[in-house]
């Protein structure tokens, strides 16, 4: 099948499917056709379509379980008006648990609790599993054989991601020795002028601020 003939078919298929389609799945759908396209042809058309739709109201996006046609998130304001439905909100406890599973998988409940400093309710684990965002990968070989949790492709799909690599990077941990021990021992209260910076700025800075904070300290000492 010529690429120009193949393109609208794939377009129609992506639009009709109710879940993302992989190259293999698309390929299978042409089984039996005299001019069955090769997987490379399909890939080529998919890439062309992804490009063609850029900047339009709808886009073709590759997520963990394949390609899908979705509305460009830039226009979600109006779509929300159309549906007049409040999107679900997730509690901090759930999001923190999910983040720990996503970044530290495979991870046990005990490990999550150790980092969060509080117990994780069974409801949260249950909700995450029912949403099919989290699954048991196996059991840790320690007493009690606790479940090891990991995330699923459905999790990545939901958050519009292709792989775990696309998750926002974790902020870096700072070493204690970057601080002057003497200063650290004093109950230092920073001058109030500094207190103006907004919370956000500070958080965004935190990744890079390691260097800066050292400089500050140097100035003080």
């Amino acid at each position: 099948m010529e690429l120009e003939k193949l393109k609208p078919v794939i377009e129609a298929l992506l639009c009709s499917a109710d879940s993302p389609l992989t190259v293999n799945h698309l390929y299978d759908l042409f089984t039996g056709d005299l001019d069955q396209p090769g997987k490379d042809d399909i890939r080529k058309v998919l890439h062309e379509l992804v490009e063609e739709y850029q900047g339009k109201g709808i886009e073709i996006k590759q997520v963990a379980s394949g390609y899908r046609l979705q509305v460009n998130p830039a226009y979600s304001t109006w779509i929300t008006r159309l549906f007049q439905q409040k999107p679900p909100r997730y509690s901090r406890a759930l999001l923190e648990t999910l983040a720990l599973i996503a970044y530290r998988q495979p991870v046990t409940r005990g490990e999550i609790e150790a980092i969060r400093g509080v117990s994780v309710s069974s409801n949260i684990i249950k909700t995450l599993q029912e949403r099919e965002w989290v699954r048991t990968l196996g059991h840790k070989d320690v007493p009690g054989r606790p479940s090891l949790y990991g995330t699923t492709n459905e999790f990545l799909d939901y958050f519009n991601l292709q792989s775990l690599n696309e998750l926002p990077t974790l902020s870096e941990l700072k070493d204690l020795d970057q601080y002057h021990p003497e200063l650290a021992l004093n109950d230092l209260i920073l001058p109030e002028e500094d207190g103006v910076e907004s919370h956000d700025e500070e958080e965004n800075d935190s990744e890079t601020s390691v260097g800066e904070s050292i400089e500050q300290e140097d100035v003080v000492s």
Partner: protein, 268 residues
């Protein structure tokens, strides 16, 4: 308790504890009576002792690496007392943290030996935990900000052309059946293999045939179950099947008088 609310340089983007006419409130005005409910919501917003500590540290724009243990411990204890006063269900973790803070505080008072490195900083473990928790707290926030289905990501909904689809019937091969049978037989040890030898099967099959011929309220003549054309074996199998059915109380044999026809009736 007093200095808790005197904090004027509270961060703007801090979690609001209440909405007043749509405006988020992050600082509790001193001159205002705080309804206990609102305070409760505020206190319940913490995700545990580490979260509360981070809040106290951030509120003063301090760096985690440089926790003024004495001050923070004092403030932490004030919150704990407040929570107890509000009769909030205080998770045990909060009390564990309180004792950890007290311990660090007392160790900080001791003179530190010459050449002590950071390993010996009594706060090292706490700082490590705070940093690690903050890392994932931030990660959770970042994740929450990702465009996601149901909020920013919507799918296209197109009208499909009329399609003719049919659901094919489930296919089972005779081998699936045999495998299933083997599995179940293997599981049930009391079920010895000789039970399903060919002969037995014939009897069992014949038992089914006999039963299906019977209607529960009708009498069927005994001889109807025998077909001479089947030969000796067939007759024997039918006879065994009927005997087996009688034994298993599935049928009754009825004979009104000697040499009268025998009737077979399904039980009940």
């Amino acid at each position: 308790m007093a200095d808790l609310f005197q904090d004027n340089h509270t961060n703007q983007s801090e979690m609001p504890f209440a909405l007043v006419e749509g405006e988020p409130l992050t600082i509790i005005p001193q001159d205002l009576y705080i309804p206990p409910d609102a305070l409760q919501v505020f206190l319940e917003a913490f995700e545990g002792p580490l979260d509360l500590l981070l809040y106290l540290i951030k509120r003063q724009n301090l760096d985690i690496l440089n926790i003024p243990v004495a001050t923070i411990t004092k403030q932490y204890m004030e919150y704990i007392h407040l929570m107890e006063k509000m009769q909030l269900e205080l998770a045990a973790e909060y009390l564990v943290m309180a004792s950890m803070l007290a311990e660090i505080k007392s160790r900080m008072l001791l003179p530190r030996p010459e050449g002590a490195d950071d390993e010996d900083d009594p706060r090292a473990e706490l700082i490590r935990r705070l940093q690690e928790y903050e890392q994932y707290r931030k990660a959770a926030e970042d994740m929450d900000a990702l465009p996601r289905e149901e909020r920013e990501i919507f799918f296209t909904q197109a009208e499909l052309p009329d399609l003719e689809t049919e659901i094919p019937e489930v296919e089972v091969s005779i081998n699936d059946l045999l495998m299933a049978f083997r599995d179940v037989v293997n599981r049930a040890e009391q079920f010895a293999s000789h039970h399903i030898e060919r002969e037995t099967l014939s009897v069992r099959e014949r038992m089914s045939i006999v039963l299906s011929k019977l209607k529960s309220d009708d009498y069927t003549e005994f001889k109807e179950f025998f077909n001479v054309e089947e030969g000796r074996m067939g007759v024997v199998v039918s006879f065994l099947a009927i005997l087996e059915l009688v034994k298993e109380s599935m049928i009754d044999l009825v004979q009104n008088e000697a040499f009268a026809p025998i009737y077979v009736k399904a039980r009940g």
